[in-house]
């Protein structure tokens, strides 16, 4: 299967209520990510499931993925914490997008590719660090050690693809 890890777009530094989960995307974050979605369209990404964390910035990023979502969207708390088996159990489909947060997305990537939670031994070790609005494309089975990283798209690259 194809698995896409997508970090939420640029969000407010602080929500009006001071609650991290309530941080919304900024207008600039929305506009830039919408252009990045055109890049995803351009490279043929089509998701039959978009899973997102309950945090507002992830909800809003998932909303912006609508043009490339051909199936369902669903919320899962497994994307709002360090990766565990529950997250892999939630992944059902042939092309799934996970919209979440750092450092958990890059930890998920490491676990799926290396097969063990290398970051638990040394938190400074990460295959990648995902910028806001970036996307990582993995291929294989969604279980530890059974996927490989096919591509990593920084946000500027997605936007550039969208312009072509």
């Amino acid at each position: 299967m194809d698995l896409w890890l997508i970090r939420h777009a640029i969000a407010q530094v602080q929500s009006p209520a001071g609650d991290d989960a309530r941080r919304a995307l900024t207008p600039e974050g929305r506009e830039r990510f919408a252009r990045g979605v055109r890049g995803l369209t351009r490279i043929g990404a089509r998701f039959d499931l978009v899973l997102h964390s309950p945090m507002l910035r992830a909800q809003e990023t998932a909303d912006l993925l609508q043009p490339v979502c051909t199936g369902e969207t669903a919320v899962t708390s497994a994307l709002a914490r360090a990766p565990d088996e529950q997250l892999f159990a939630d992944i059902q489909g042939s092309c799934v997008a996970l919209v979440g947060h750092e450092p958990w997305l890059s930890q998920t990537l490491s676990w799926l590719v290396f097969g063990w939670r290398v970051y638990e031994e040394d938190p400074s070790v990460a295959i990648v660090q995902m910028k806001k609005g970036s996307a990582a494309h993995l291929v294989g089975d969604p279980r530890p050690g059974a996927m490989h990283l096919a591509a990593l798209y920084p946000p500027a690259a997605l936007r550039a693809l969208g312009r072509r």
């Binding site: 964390s53 998932a62 909303d63 969207t73 669903a74 919320v75 899962t76 708390s77």
Partner: protein, 242 residues
């Protein structure tokens, strides 16, 4: 002291969020008909609230929960009728299965995530609300316009029922009077309950004990349809002004 500026024209969401959470909790303990109905209503109202804020996320989660509850609710509605013995037992067994599915859905971590997600969504702003309500009115009018199409007949009524319900909930969020829409919705809802029952009766067409009930349902459907169409004709010219 300065008060925070209220930007949303809607009633506070907390009442329905609390109601939704309360019914989830009740149903986790026991799948009672009243709680099933109230869960569906709360989920429907919250879904419309999200639509008024131009938000797509979380609505599919609410919809899946509503659909799961609807399977139980349809059987609960049938159970209120005076049904024949053998069929009653079949329906009771079906309800037990659907209730188990609903309970499983409610116990899933997805429902906790849904609740977490709902509480962080900000109130819809006035611009989105205005535009969403205009769209809802247009959708109701379009659905009503298709009632005259003989090929669409029952499908058009079904579509109108869902769209009227959403518009009514939206007006309720604004604190506007939706009495007329409620009357129409009741006619359309009653008609839908009968259509669900008829489909089940037709699946057991070989059972002679259900023959008289089938005829009664067909008669009731005709009566309900006429009342629903009359209610629609009365309300149609006023949709735009609501």
């Amino acid at each position: 002291m300065l008060q925070p500026v209220k930007t949303s024209p809607l009633l506070p969401v907390d009442t329905w969020l609390d109601e939704f959470a309360r019914q989830v909790e009740r149903l986790r303990a026991s799948i009672e008909p009243d709680a099933v109905h109230r869960l569906r209503v709360a989920a429907g109202r919250l879904s419309v609230w999200l639509e008024l804020g131009a938000r797509r996320s979380l609505r599919p989660d609410l919809w899946r929960l509503r659909r799961s509850a609807a399977a139980v609710r349809d059987l609960d509605v049938l159970a209120t009728h005076d049904l024949e013995g053998a069929w009653t037992e079949t329906l009771r067994q079906e309800r037990a299965i659907e209730a188990a599915c609903l309970r499983a859905a409610l116990l899933s971590p997805r429902v906790e995530a849904l609740l977490e997600g709902l509480v962080v969504v900000p109130e819809p702003d006035a611009v989105n609300v205005r535009s969403a309500i205009q769209n809802m009115k247009r959708r109701v009018q379009r659905a009503g316009d298709r009632l005259d199409d003989p090929e669409e007949k029952d499908r058009a009524l079904h579509r109108l029922r869902r769209r009227v319900r959403r518009l009514r909930y939206a007006l309720d969020w604004l604190g506007s009077d939706s009495t007329d829409l409620r009357t129409l919705q009741e006619h359309l809802g009653g008609l839908n309950d009968l259509a669900v029952e008829l489909a089940r009766l037709e699946a057991r067409a070989s059972d002679p004990a259900l023959e008289s009930r089938r005829h009664a349902v067909l008669r009731e459907i005709d009566e309900r349809r006429s009342r629903a169409l009359e209610a629609w004709k009365a309300i149609r010219p006023r949709i735009g002004e609501m």
